[in-house]
Amino acid sequence: MINDLVIGMAGSGGDGIVSAGESLISACAAMGYHAMMTKSFGSQIRGGESSCRVRLAAGPVLNPGGALDVAVALNWEDFLKFGAELPVDGDTLVLYEEKTGVAPDALPLVGVEPAEALAVPMADMARTATGSDKGKSSVVLGLLAGYFGIGREAIVAGIRKKFAKKDERLVEANEKAFALGVEYAEAHPLKKPRRVEPAVKSGPRMLTDGNDICAAAAIFAGCDFFSGYPITPSTEVMQFFTRETWKYGGAVLQAEDEIAGIGAALGASFGGKKAMTATSGPGMSLKTEIMGLASITELPLVIVNVQRGGPSTGMPTKPEQSDLFQAVFSSHGDVVRPVLAPTCVSDTFDVTVEAFNIAEYYQTPVVVLSDQEIAQRKEVIDLIDTSRFTLVERLRPDAAELASYERFRLTASGISPVSHPGMKGGNYVGAGIEHNEHGDPTASGRIHQRMNEKRIHKFDRLRKRDDLYRVEGDASAPLALVSWGSCAGVCREALALATAQGLRVKLLVPYLLYPVNEGVYRRFFATVQAGLVVEQSFLGQLYRVLRMVLDVPPGLKSFSRSGANPFHPAEIVRELHDHALGLQQRKSEARQPRE
């Protein structure tokens, strides 16, 4: 019995292989599994090569996994285009279309001998069921259900749901194709059969992706205004707002460009409303000027950057974590801007709510660094209990303060009560130009110094928070991992594996990337002799930011590479073993003593 199954499927767009993945993950949710699905495509709008990975497990799924347990290839040309995204190794079961004419012992996989390879007449079965060779995706689902014992009723229900709005004949035909797949699997058993442990339904589960849950979190947090511009891979955030925000009395604007997108959101915030925009790297570059305007006018604003491969147009459909420098440092002048990063679909909700709380409390723009993988991967996760969240509103002036209102009054905390149009007595002019307490333009060096002090030191309290960091593993371990964003999920699994293999390791995941709480890192690194900062960027951007801000142990190295080269838990574990060996050679206690 296995409790974790990684399935990778590839074909061409017309085959509906990704739809099959969606039916499958839908079924997983109904059956009580946790699951995660990622998709990958060629650059054609439709009909190009397409693939998906579904990982299902009884317990929470932390990342898409490494090598495939099952590889399904509807044709080899398309399958191979996905390279390292669909890694086949000696334990993989390969199911492929018989009509590709490839012999099971002559697969076009270089240097790899899968555990078992079956040429399956998927197209024929599809033709029998549907009259054409469409419907292969349902055949594939039947094979998976038959071979692994994944709940048939649930998958059939998933098929029904997917085709519900279409012709009833489509539903019938697909159900038939599914049945044929199951039959085939039963008639052609595997040499080494594998069954997936049945899931235990333990509470309601949600099926959603990072973009949708980000938008839902924003509305939950009280965001009543969104404006933005379509850009892959963030557009779904805006689209969610266009369907839902009206129901809560909110408004959404698809602006004419990225700059108008952030401009309109800032206007709404000036008006006293919680507001958000979302984009990817190229859009962030355009939005930079108005981000600075938000900082100097001290207005709350949440800016979501769903990172993709950069620089410039880069790779719109691939994740990367190379916008950290930009999030922290861009926009001219002395600016401190909080930067948060979720690590998975579930905590995208938490992080987005927190982003609004921080934006409101500190009266500042806040950047949320998601990435294409988290944003567009579907996860089956436990329903989030919204009652455990507290929502923060910006500090508003009371009657006494309004009697002689100074918008940028210097206060001990650096935070001044902020009015908004419509509030009698709170009239002020917000401006990008440097200003005195009243908001009048100034070019005085003394006032400018004081205002910079205010704008930057108001974050001292945020800098001191340690609740936005998660430390897991052996607290006094000499070996460490630091990771953020989607890579954190890989490291969490690596931590579990390495610990089970006898290594003493700990992991730090910062949710607040900037400003940096030096104390948290110092305490974490106190016992550390070797470690890796694992992230998806050529430059290893968090590693460099940490080195800029604090002293890191000399044994801490950057383990980073460009996007579209995903990390796998196993390779992190291998790295940890290498480092442990190195430490041992330097006579330290990296390994637990054998009992």
Partner: protein
């Protein structure tokens, strides 16, 4: 809505002393705005004045309304976001010809076609005054400036024709040389339900040519009303607008006799319809639950 009949122009004048050069046309525009706002009667705290960057964009600070002096060319998107989020406010936007038709040019057609109830006042002086007199998009061809030492080789933008062609429902032009006329078109523009555009020939006394100054306006300006213009006809308005740069025509070029509903009205209607029976925010995740 809270109207105060006893408001005077002085109620809209802030204590901040303008940095504009004496003789600047913008002083007249400011006075006309005080007059218009006093006539309309919304109190200053219910008015928000959004501007970009430029001499003319300093104008919000010289009124007692809420103001937002933002970045170059971006007044319109900020004003639209504010108006969508807070439809009950009176929202004005202002800036110069460069702010509006050069860097901000991409925002103009969209603000017009969205048609929210915003009034946009452009102080058109055919130069970039704040930065010392460079060529602007409305500078006439052949003009010598610090960035056109041998004379501009470019044809100027015709802001009136652009705005009319983009479909604006209210387009007018004024000059401080005719203060009552200017105050009247600004008031009418603010009252107009929908996006309203007022171009003001507001000369730069420091960098402008002699022929562009207020005294020169007085000599050449013609009122559209006196010419028998029919402001209900967009084609006629476009025809009159062609003379921009050669003649100074003031008054209302175009006023839609049957203005369409504003964006705010349409949004309100949609919200009312969709809010009925919506679940509370705390239950927003229910839509993702799999059964």
């Amino acid at each position: 809505m809270n109207l105060i009949p006893s408001l005077t122009p002085k109620d809209f004048k802030s204590d901040l002393k303008p940095i504009w050069c004496p003789g600047c046309g913008d002083f007249g525009v400011l006075q006309a705005i005080y007059r218009a706002l006093a006539a309309i009667g919304r109190p200053p705290h219910e008015i928000a004045f959004i501007s970009g960057i430029g001499c003319s964009s300093r104008i919000p600070g010289y009124t007692t309304a809420y103001g937002f002096n933002s970045v170059h060319g971006r007044a319109l998107p900020i004003a639209q976001g504010l108006k969508l989020a807070r439809p009950e406010l009176l929202v004005l936007a202002a800036g110069g010809d460069g702010d509006g038709f050069s860097i901000g040019g991409g925002h103009v057609p969209h603000a017009i076609r969205r048609n929210d109830d915003i009034t946009y006042i452009v102080m058109d002086n055919q130069t970039y005054g704040l930065t010392k007199g460079q060529l602007s998009p409305t500078s006439p061809k052949g003009l010598h400036t610090v960035t056109s030492a041998y004379g501009s080789l470019e044809n100027p933008v015709n802001p009136l024709m652009y705005v009319l062609a983009y479909g604006a429902s209210f387009v007018a032009q004024g000059t401080p040389a005719d203060m009552p006329g200017l105050a009247a078109v600004i008031e009418e523009a603010i009252r107009f339900p929908g996006f309203a555009f007022v171009n003001v020939q507001s000369p730069c006394v420091t960098y402008g040519e002699e022929g562009q100054q207020i005294k020169a306006h007085k000599a050449v300006m013609k009122h559209l009303e006196d010419l028998g213009h029919n402001p209900g006809n967009r084609i006629e308005a476009l025809d009159k607008a062609q003379s921009y740069g050669q003649a100074l025509l003031t008054g209302v070029f175009y006023r839609d006799p049957d203005p369409p509903p504003t964006l705010g009205a349409l949004v309100h209607e949609r919200q009312q319809r969709l809010m009925a029976g919506a679940a509370p925010r705390a239950r927003i995740l229910d839509m993702f639950v799999q059964h």
